[in-house]
């Protein structure tokens, strides 16, 4: 009797063992495969729709035709119609928008930057002339009518065959600088489409049909549009952390003069050098990298100025405070500041923007010692090479 009871119990136990987990999973999988049904419920009515009340503001002019994640698109106060062969690319720093432009076989880069209305055109021209290696006094902007705008335009060419086409367009209460760069031939071929683009520029508000948010006044639908739960320009928290960004882009190479000694080690530094001079003077040379544009050019310049005791500059003074240089096919911002006082400090810094990262090559130290090392520092910066993408 006892044996029969044990056998029965073992049968039940053994039979149940395989059935239990299998049944459980079948039930779970059936739950997963169930077809969703029509659902009816009462919900509070949405408030009246107000584009300005949206966390993302009014829809961008390029909302239905621009690349996903164009950071400034959603906040651009301008709308435009892209000429044939142009497409918008991600813009960085103070740029409102950036484009790659094709005209036949010619390819050039176009940027759109906003400035205060009182900015002197001569200051712009001086800055642009320096970019192409010309003396600022040789020319200036010429008036031109583009669409509804009375603009000023300048066409510059460098001795090396580089071209630059720039226009100042007053729209509303702001001044807009649009600039095409490339070879002289490419820039020349771009002029008709560039002027057509300038003529299409309009304040975003004027493009709203009958008070309605605009749909697609801007880009011509060249690239895949995607609506994301992250609006254009919204930064994911993780992406903004330095650990997630370091090493994401291309690491450059450079050549440091042999007489430079090793500088202080730091987790933030990719390269660190030190030059010792007479009387205990030193130069600290640091190579650092950060994701993005690290707050933009103006805050960076002012931070460096503050470090050597100089007052901050305004946006209007930007063109005179920094210049653009070409190093190994890459464009860089070059700044040179000398402090004041009995023992002034001097900072030479080059900022590269490559692969979504900013690379800083910065030398700071005693002004006299920096002056004596200036040639070596410039050679150091000019030796920087980024790998081809």
């Amino acid at each position: 009797m006892e044996r029969a009871r044990l056998v029965t119990r073992n049968i039940l136990k053994s039979a149940a063992a395989p059935i239990l987990p299998i049944t459980l999973f079948c039930m779970l999988l059936l739950t997963a495969c169930s077809k969703p049904e029509i659902v009816i419920y009462d919900a509070p009515k949405d408030p009246p729709r107000d584009p300005a009340a949206s966390p993302f503001g009014p829809p961008a002019p390029s909302m239905m035709g621009a690349p996903a994640g164009a950071p400034h698109a959603a906040r651009s106060p301008l709308v435009w119609v892209l000429p044939e062969g142009w497409h918008q690319v991600e813009s960085t720093g103070a740029r409102t928008a950036a484009f790659h432009a094709h005209a036949g076989a010619a390819v050039a880069d176009v940027v759109l930057v906003e400035f205060p209305p009182a900015t002197d055109a001569a200051v712009f021209y001086a800055h642009l002339a320096r970019q192409v290696g010309q003396e600022p006094g040789d020319g200036g902007f010429a008036p031109v009518e583009v669409g509804p705008h009375s603009a000023q335009i300048a066409h510059l060419e460098s001795p090396a065959g580089q071209g630059l086409l720039a226009a100042l367009v007053p729209i509303g209460e702001r001044l807009w600088l649009a600039q095409v760069t490339g070879t002289a031939a490419e820039v020349g071929a771009m002029r008709p489409s560039f002027e057509a683009f300038l003529g299409s520029l309009a304040p975003a508000a004027s493009a709203l049909p009958e008070g309605h948010p605009t749909l697609a006044t801007g880009t011509a639908g060249q690239t895949a549009p995607t609506a994301s739960p992250l609006p254009p320009g919204a930064a994911m928290v993780g992406e903004a952390l330095p650990d997630a960004a370091v090493g994401r882009g291309a690491t450059p190479t450079w050549v440091a003069p042999s007489h430079w000694g090793p500088g202080p080690a730091s987790s933030m530094r990719r390269g660190s050098y030190r030059v010792d001079g007479a009387g205990g003077t030193t130069i600290d040379i640091a190579v650092t990298t950060f994701p993005g544009d690290v707050g933009g050019l103006l805050p960076n310049l002012n931070r460096w100025r503050q470090q050597i005791g100089l007052p901050p500059i305004t946006h209007a003074e930007l063109p005179t405070a920094a210049s653009t240089i070409q190093v190994g096919g890459q464009q860089a911002i070059w700044a040179d500041f000398t402090g004041s006082g009995a023992r002034p400090q001097r900072t030479l810094v080059a900022q590269f923007q490559v692969g979504g990262e900013s690379w800083f090559f910065k030398a700071t130290g005693d002004a006299t010692l920096v002056s004596s090392e200036e040639a070596n520092i410039r050679a150091f910066v000019e030796s920087v090479r980024f790998p081809n993408p």
Partner: protein, 446 residues
Amino acid sequence: MSTATTPPTGGDSPPPAQGAAPSSRRIRGPIGTLWHHLGSLRITVFLLAFSTLLVFLGTLDQVQYGIRLAQERYFESFFAIWQYPAQWPGGTTFLAHLGVPLLGGYFVGPLLVINLVAAHFRFFRPSPAKIGIVLIHAGVVLLLVSQLVTQLVQKEYYMWLKEGGSANYLESFVENELVLINHSAHPGSDLARVVSIPIDRVQAREAIRHPALPFTIVPREFFLNAAISRREGRQGLHAPLADRGLAARFDLVVEPRPRVTQHNERDVTTAVVEIIADNRPLGRWLLSNVFDDRFAAQTFEFEGQTWEIALRIQRQYLPFTLELHEFIHERYPGTNIPRRFASRMLLHDGTHQEPIETTVQMNEPLRYGGYTFYQASFTPDDTASMLQVVRNPGWTGPYIACSLITLGMIIQFWISLSRFTRRRANAEKEAAAALNPNPTLNLPRP
């Protein structure tokens, strides 16, 4: 069917200890044979190694496909195909066309659970000394089951809040819905009657009828992803059939697009639907989840009632409201590197007299009403905050499982330690006895 205990027959069975009972029981019959093989420890090792390989390949392919698609392909499927990456050596040769079939997560996971249970019954002998092993096995099985439950029932949403703004609903990261909203259902009330139709019904392009709808909805066109733009003289793009609403007003054209895969992108799901009442067409509307609250609602009148029609990101309404008081974004001095993100909010719940003040920040989520709100993102001007919201009714499972495993390991370790100390004490006694075989001859110490 009868059962009998037999010695282990598989080569993978652990050898029985000397003098111990046989370590395997065999159920007779075909089920017994199947059960016997399912409990093979070789299968356990194979499945564990294969799981590691699957996780490795699935993680690598997240770069190519994005997290969501890679998860679907490798872990939420019964079978997967792994493609030789083009970036690997020889990736541009014939290897690029090499597809290796793999067992997916839905196959490996349940098989591992069945194997674990079968092996347990096959080899395990109940004994108080093995209570720790029972707890560890139970914990591992519960962990696997919890993962499956989480995958099946967990929902993830997000909520955008502008400073000073509030919201009482969440939006899905991936799902869309077709909604017909009757704004006249509750006259004098701020409530509207919402009829939510699964997007699959629209994709199937079958006529949709429901007692709550006095008309029929006929999906005419459907695009999983599309580009919508104004025609503006451009040729060659698809003009939708819509003759009402935004499409008609702005002369919109639609261009089909391949689906996006990256985690920070979303398909512009688009459809054209026609409303028919009493065999009379009321109109055709172009609907898209890109027509969010920045665009005018698309509405129509029918039998004196105002209806709104929309294809929108699926909503989940909450029984409470969150209001963003302030978004805080602190940076390390002199840099643009974020140091702290936080959303200071007021939680309005009808069950409380006063609003509850709460702050959500990194690693400090808000848990309320079965939802967990995490700080996730923000707008560049720091005036709006995005919360990621998770609802997982099975969230306690992994905690219980890990507790069981920990408890089991502690008990098992304690039992082994006790056994070891007992044996050592006995060995010392025996050694002492061996050195001093005749204790009666010992003289007392002075």
